[in-house]
């Protein structure tokens, strides 16, 4: 099957509904082509919409717990707002991101992640905001 790029502009809530419908459709039909297409669409919706919002929510929850800072959002600065020192970004953040990645893959039934987030990957990406970390996590989602 040739891959066709599919773009959705869905909110996380709409994505949940679309995912429910697609799952139901793929399970009830015997047509192989429809099953393949629904599976493909389901994977896209999961990765593009659900995974991003889920990873952001999980990461913000984890960061709030670890830094005891409230009012964190995706544009929050890791250094000046969350007060993460360069060492904390190097040694603590990879652990936190990896745990979020595993949870996202498990909750979304996405399969095994491509790899873990290591210190090396974090340093190379030079993250400054929470959304940079989310982007790194999504890169590893299968």
């Amino acid at each position: 099957m040739t891959s066709i790029p599919v773009n959705f502009s869905l909110t996380p809530e709409q994505a949940e509904t679309v995912m429910e419908v697609l799952t139901g459709l793929s399970q009830t039909t015997n047509n192989q082509k429809i099953r393949n297409v629904t599976r493909f669409l389901l994977r896209n919706v999961r990765q593009d919409v659900w995974a991003k919002s889920h990873a952001t929510a999980l990461l913000i929850k984890l960061l709030a717990k670890k830094t005891s800072q409230v009012g964190i959002h995706e544009n929050s600065s890791l250094r000046s707002y969350l007060r993460l020192t360069p060492d904390a970004i190097k040694f603590e953040v990879p652990k936190w991101c990896s745990s979020v990645l595993l949870k996202v893959c498990k909750n979304g039934n996405l399969g095994k992640p491509k790899g873990r987030l290591t210190t090396k990957k974090i340093i190379k990406a030079k993250p400054t905001k929470v959304k940079d970390l989310v982007k790194l996590i999504l890169n590893e989602v299968p």
Binding site: H73, S77, F91
Partner: protein, 324 residues
């Protein structure tokens, strides 16, 4: 001449030290600040003042700063060290006991206890400096060898981390964070004024041993400085950055360890300052501002005699490229 030989030896030792590290990734850095002596003065801005009277009175000026070029060597994510060469100028003809010192030398900085299992949430940063100092006012040259240590927090910056480290400001700016939030977030969550709107602070410290060759003297040096930023978040609304207004106090204590009496200031010096920072970039460690300061005491390293004076100066601190 003897000083020069020692400097060359120290330089060679540093070079050979780098050879023993296998896969190093050197990254260059260029910095400007007040003095390379220790991490406390490193974080302070370089200052420049000049007076050009129209009558027969001589021109007078004050320069306090260093220019530094060097390399950061990164062995792995946790281990690194830096070697830099610098030139330092401390000239002040605006005061009664004039100061005119030119210094050049090298510095080696490294970190201890960075692998956490040794030292909890702090690591120790050490700076070893060797410099040749030319005091043009007293017409004498001297060598200076300094070893300075300070604690660097490795975890999240608590209020205490902010008290001892210039790079950590406490409380963190809630207003700036709110301003940067996506519109969807701002539409749903209203902004409530926080402590950071009214006050923020940061401090720095250093503990060191200093040896001066002419006159020969060894001293213990303890330095501490604290900056308070009143109405930080409220002024953010006007100047678009935090830490616009700055009130600071610094204390330096020199205790003579060698027995001989010397003609150098070894005692306690205090500095009070009030300043406005017009441009601040926290990520890049850059700041430009205007500062009014009151000095009581001297400084044996930069040829400043024991005296009281006040000055207003343009101040600048920046690092073009650095690791942290």
């Amino acid at each position: 001449m003897k000083c020069l030989k020692v400097l060359i030896t120290v330089g060679c030792a540093m070079v050979f030290n780098t050879v023993s590290y296998g896969q190093l990734k050197p990254k260059y850095k260029i910095s400007i600040g007040q003095s390379t002596s220790n991490s406390l003065t490193r974080g302070k801005p370089a200052t420049l003042t000049a007076v050009f009277p129209n009558d027969t009175t001589a021109n007078s000026q004050s320069i306090n700063g260093f220019f530094e070029f060097g390399y950061d060597f990164v062995k792995d994510e946790r281990e690194r060290f830096a070697i830099t060469a610098f030139m330092e100028r401390h000239l002040n003809t605006l005061i009664s006991k004039k100061q005119d010192v030119f210094q050049a030398g090298g510095q080696f900085t490294t970190e201890f206890f960075h692998r956490k299992k040794f030292f909890g949430v702090y690591k120790v940063k050490a700076a070893i400096t060797g410099k040749h100092s030319d005091d043009r006012e007293k017409d004498k040259t001297t060598g200076q060898f300094l070893l300075h240590l300070n604690l660097v927090p490795t975890g999240q910056g608590s209020w205490f981390d902010a008290m001892i480290n210039k790079n950590v400001v406490f409380p963190s700016s809630k207003y700036e964070n709110y301003k940067n939030a996506p519109k969807s977030y701002r539409d749903t969550v209203p902004y409530v004024k926080d402590a950071s709107d009214y006050i923020q602070w940061s401090g720095s410290h250093t503990v060191g041993l200093e040896h001066i060759t002419n006159p020969r003297v060894t001293a213990f040096h303890l330095g501490y400085g604290i900056s308070v930023y009143p109405f930080s978040g409220l002024l953010h609304r006007v100047f678009d950055h935090d830490q616009t207004m700055e009130i600071s106090y610094g204390i330096d204590l020199w205790e003579r360890l060698s027995e001989e009496e010397v003609d150098l200031f070894l005692g306690t010096s205090h500095t009070w300052a009030f300043g406005l920072n017009f441009f601040v970039n926290k990520e890049k460690k850059q700041a430009i501002g205007l500062k009014y300061s009151i000095h009581r005491g001297g400084n044996p390293l930069i040829g400043l005699a024991d005296q009281n004076f006040e000055q207003i100066a343009l101040s600048a601190v920046f690092t073009l490229k650095n690791l942290d």
